[in-house]
Symmetry: C2
């Protein structure tokens, strides 16, 4: 591998001249510049990343922590991986993927050894060890999610409390007085994903305020969702709910939509469907579903911007919380009901 010394020799100049030509940090004569660039070209010289960083320069790498937890289907994080990597590249950073089970240990290892300049946290739980320890990391840290303990890092998330209220308000204003709340299997809740809890709390509270009824239902058999049972319960309720608020994934919702059709219930004529905190972009739904989606692109973009700011501008982002307003994408699956 050709080093800066080889280039200097090839060009007949000193190493510092080569360095300055490449960095542009001082004025160099056109002739010298040409000689050096030619030599660089000829030798295929690329500066060594480690040596460069030894001089106190940035590494231009940050860690992306997405611990693999056996029970969870991780497919939904793919969009976050790609968006983070993409945004990082836009800002001149590479992404080091950390998927080990002991996430805190991994983060400590890569931050303390100066392998990375910062950390992005994915798949945040309500009580997340990674954010709880963030204050002790030697590099800035941004969480995509909104955990209870977040003094040591910045947080970026959708405002799920508002989303919960918006969901109720949307339905209530269209005359709905009773709705089913459809969630994924309980794993996520047990783990305590913050957004699920927040959304549910706000949903129930706002419904209470307005005097709207929310039926919670968990129909899972052998870890699989039972759509037939769900629809059966829906139909058997005294005052049949006129809407479904969905927070489950695409597969579960598809099963429900199918079963509704099989039961002769048309969407939205017989029942409205509103999906929240989901991401059906590109998913093949039987019909378009009105949605307040999560926004991987927006969240990742914000997170990366914040982190790069903290790194490059030495900005202190500890404890910062940025919640994005939920956005309602009307796709016709929610309609008015009654005499409203």
């Amino acid at each position: 591998m050709a080093g800066i010394k080889d280039v200097a020799q090839e060009a007949g100049v000193s190493v510092s001249t080569v360095s300055y030509v490449l960095s542009g940090k001082r004025s160099i004569s056109a002739k010298t510049t040409d000689k050096v660039m030619a030599a660089v070209e000829r030798l295929g010289y690329t500066p060594d990343a480690s040596a460069r960083k030894m001089r106190g320069m940035r590494n231009h790498i940050f860690a992306l922590s997405a611990p693999i937890r056996g029970d969870i289907n991780q497919a939904k994080y793919n969009a976050y991986f790609l968006q983070t990597a993409w945004q990082a590249k836009n800002r001149g950073y590479d992404v080091l993927l950390l998927t080990g089970e002991d996430a805190v240990a991994d983060i400590r290892r890569v931050t303390q050894s100066n392998l990375v300049d910062g950390v992005v946290l994915l798949d945040i739980e309500e009580h997340d060890e990674r954010t709880a320890q963030a204050g002790s990391y030697s590099k800035p840290c941004v969480a995509i999610g909104y955990p209870a303990e977040h003094e040591g890092c910045a947080c970026v998330d959708i405002d799920f409390a508002t989303a919960g209220r918006m969901a109720v308000d949307c339905l209530y204003s269209k005359g709905h007085r009773s709705a089913m709340f459809l969630r994924d299997n309980e794993t996520d809740c047990d783990r305590g994903s913050g957004y699920v809890l927040l959304f549910r709390k706000a949903l129930l509270e706002r419904a209470e305020e307005l005097g709207m009824t929310i039926h919670e239902s968990f129909k899972h058999r052998d870890d699989r969702f039972d759509a037939v049972e769900f629809v059966r319960e829906l139909c058997s309720l005294d005052e049949r709910p006129t809407a479904i608020v969905n927070q489950a994934n695409a597969n579960v919702l598809k099963l429900v939509l199918q079963q509704l059709q099989a039961s002769g219930l048309r969407v939205p004529d017989d029942i409205s469907v509103l999906s929240c905190g989901t991401y059906f972009e590109g998913e093949l739904m039987p019909q378009p579903i009105t949605e307040m989606p999560v926004m991987p692109q927006e969240l990742c973009s914000k997170a990366v911007d914040l982190l790069v700011d903290a790194i490059d501008e030495r900005r202190d982002i500890k404890g910062l919380v940025e919640l994005s307003a939920p956005v309602m994408h009307s796709r016709g699956s929610v309609t008015k009901v009654g005499d409203v």
Copy 2:
């Protein structure tokens, strides 16, 4: 940040002693070891990754190239990301994610600057610039896939040619003489994903040999698969095919299965379904489907092993090709037909 000098001072020994205690490369008295370890603990010392690598040591990072191509649904690569990261960690390596559109440029950048010790290539096309250029990378490289040009790197893949023949043999031996070939929308084919081409070629050739009829069908409207039209065509054929060979993704197959049911065709009584090169583990299929799956775990494991071997043992893996035998997972969706 505490450095090795601080530790040496704190422990009252020389820097080299600290280094040797940590590396275990020479025998140190128990007393000294204790003193040093205590100091390391007290100061929370972690060696600097760059400085370490400057001394010719490995970086213990490799690049994972998965270029974002606008038209493709990247969700299917998630399993490969995670498996690669997981296997890498088992072998003591971290993974740097490269998703830039100009993949070759990214790879050159990280290999030439010694940021990574090796490269793993994902989502390989039949004619892939990344493998075509692999010979000129300054680090070893493994492709998960089997492209035309692969002199400069190692390749790890399922043996899709054999899979194609196995699919035909399986159906033929059960009395099937005519089948529909169901593929994803044509994007993958146009791009020329190697495995799709290989599988199709072998499938058609073997069918020809045995005198079996394969109907190819592309029913896509507005970039969406039209299951209704597909089943209509299936039923309208003179000698109605008794089997479907599927290579499309879970969503497309689900639509077809649904439509078959709607048309009164039962699987496998009225029509057999065999899926190849897919990965339905954990997907919610209406019913279990006999499958020759792709095997992310096995492929990634092999790829990582190969790469780590090349890095740590300086083994030359250029041009190496390792094809895994396809495995048939019988799940009851293929049955005998006629008087066999």
